[in-house]
């Protein structure tokens, strides 16, 4: 069987994109006004992710209380039907726990948590469909939901994945591409070139790391613009209504 051509000599990828193009990125905030303090919905290509934030609120247990800063907890649930073949996943699966820790660490440093001492912030992420860029989509959804909840953050954390195919860096991979190449996921802080999140799960040659990172940061800035647009248009809509 011939191997799937992930990047054609003409410079086109399996879904017709060029190397530096993002997939369709759509987002909405305040999707669940009645059931959570902040909520968002993100579609990145065919991945669909809902995020709901509760808090800052009083912690249920003493152990969840920190006198100096807010305690942030992320829970991820991935729907059984989210992949092409239905598969049951347990919430304690190693991979999910790892993603959860990565997101928790990212937002613990991005939220100005010393403003909310003795409180608890719960971030619930629900993945409805996944087609690559799982971590990036979840972190973007969490950023938007936190903004909707009015929780103070230093800046946007905008995430995107980028991979290396042969020697070409490719932006925002889908499942097919993810399965076949080494890739990393980054979270860029605002318009800067600082990273709040960097996750590389397989090998990448050191000399190729820089172009891939450069591409990913540019992609992250674009994602930030798209999220900012949505936040501003929602804000305008809200202020007109009042």
């Amino acid at each position: 069987m011939p191997r799937l051509e992930l990047y054609s000599p003409e410079g086109l990828r399996v879904d017709g994109r060029r190397w530096n193009e993002l997939r369709r990125f759509e987002c909405k905030i305040n999707t669940h006004p009645n059931s959570s303090d902040g909520s968002s919905y993100v579609e990145q290509g065919n991945s669909k992710i809902i995020c709901m934030v509760q808090g800052p609120m009083e912690p249920k247990l003493r152990s969840q209380m920190d006198v100096n800063k807010a305690n942030i907890e992320v829970s991820i649930s991935i729907a059984h039907f989210s992949t092409f073949h239905r598969k049951k996943r347990s919430k304690n699966e190693k991979r999910i726990v790892e993603l959860k820790t990565a997101i928790e660490n990212t937002f613990e440093n991005s939220i100005i948590s010393h403003l909310y001492p003795r409180t608890f912030i719960q971030i619930n992420i629900q993945v409805l469909a996944q087609d690559g860029g799982l971590l990036a989509g979840m972190a973007n959804a969490a950023t938007l939901a936190l903004i909707d909840a009015g929780i103070a953050m230093y800046d946007y954390v905008s995430c995107v994945s980028a991979g290396l195919y042969d020697q070409y860096p490719l932006l925002d991979l889908n499942t097919l591409e993810e399965n076949d190449m080494s890739y990393l996921t980054i979270g860029v802080i605002g318009k800067s070139e600082k990273l709040a999140l960097l996750m590389l799960e397989n090998k990448m040659p050191l000399d190729k790391l820089e172009p891939v990172l450069g591409l990913a940061i540019a992609g992250g800035h674009r994602v930030r613009e798209l999220m900012d647009e949505e936040v501003r248009s929602h804000g305008k809509h809200r202020s007109q209504r009042q």
């Binding site: 009645n34 919905y41 065919n46 669909k48 709901m52 039907f81 092409f84 629900q126």
Partner: protein, 286 residues
């Protein structure tokens, strides 16, 4: 603690009136307003999202798989996931048991038959994103919407494959796909559960969280084929009540519950069908 003793007493007293005065001015046979979208998951055969005014929300996906009929005793699998509850908790397990028994007893299984050897198996996954009152009604209504909009690919190979070793093949064109109603050749209406709260001599459809706190008992009745059906059970709805008024039922309660379900559920089903028609079908979740 949800309600203070005074609030409880006030709510109780207004609900035992004849006719009862409900906090949201609903009639006894009215459900809370619903908002729904359908067919937004491209990788599922059917999907629905249903939201109530109090923020309760449920997402259901229906996925299908071709199986050998002889090897699979069970052509319908229901799974329930409620945010904030463990999968092995009594709450989730009982919901799952009730929904499975509802669908197993009231489902046109012939619609899933493909050939003499193969069938479709349906996987119904329900995610309760947030819930306040007992979520059985909202889940079963979301299942209704998802099953109603489920489309299964059209078989293009032979129906009779007793003697031929042949895998079923399907039409590539999604336009040919049939809904379960078209497959049975009738107006297919999946079964639904209605929860009724019992208080004094009255029965309340779809009790809200506050109403659940003061109810004396609860009933779940199924509705399929234009009339009340089994499973019919009583259930303690006030799960998170700090002090319950739980009492026994009279047999008149059960008889009138059945007649109320017979009388009003047709309208609920009609309303659900209208929700499907009103959906723009643009594949958007929100």
């Amino acid at each position: 603690m949800l309600l203070s003793p005074a609030e409880r007493q006030y709510l109780y007293d207004s609900l035992v009136q004849n006719p009862p005065i409900r906090p949201d001015a609903r009639n006894v046979f009215q459900c809370r307003p619903l908002e729904a979208t359908t067919t937004f998951l491209p990788s599922s055969n059917g999907s629905a999202r249903l939201r109530m005014t109090d923020g309760a929300e449920c997402i259901v996906s229906v996925k299908s798989k071709v199986v050998k009929t002889a090897d699979t005793p069970n052509l319908l699998e229901v799974d329930v996931d409620v945010q904030g509850y463990r999968d092995d908790s009594n709450f989730v397990a009982t919901l799952k048991y009730n929904l499975s028994s509802l669908l197993h007893k009231n489902f046109p299984f012939e619609a899933l038959k493909l050939t003499s050897r193969y069938s479709y198996k349906l996987f119904i996954d329900c995610i309760v994103m947030s819930n306040t009152s007992y979520p059985l009604t909202i889940i079963s209504m979301a299942i209704y919407l998802a099953l109603k909009t489920t489309k299964l690919p059209k078989l293009v190979s032979e129906v009779d494959d007793v003697n031929v070793e042949e895998q079923p093949t399907f039409s590539d064109d999604w336009e040919d796909a049939k809904t379960l109603g078209e497959a049975t050749g009738s107006d297919f209406q999946p079964p639904v559960f209605i929860t009724l709260g019992v208080i004094g001599s009255s029965l309340l459809f779809d009790p809200s969280l506050e109403e659940e706190q003061v109810l004396e008992n609860g009933l779940i009745v199924s509705f399929y084929d234009g009339k009340a059906q089994t499973p019919l059970q009583n259930i303690n709805l006030a799960l998170n009540s700090n002090k319950n008024n739980y009492k026994g039922l009279k047999s008149t309660h059960i008889v009138s519950a059945i007649s109320m379900v017979n009388k009003y559920c047709g309208m609920i089903i009609h309303a659900l069908d209208t929700l499907i028609d009103q959906d723009e079908g643009d594949g958007q979740v929100f």
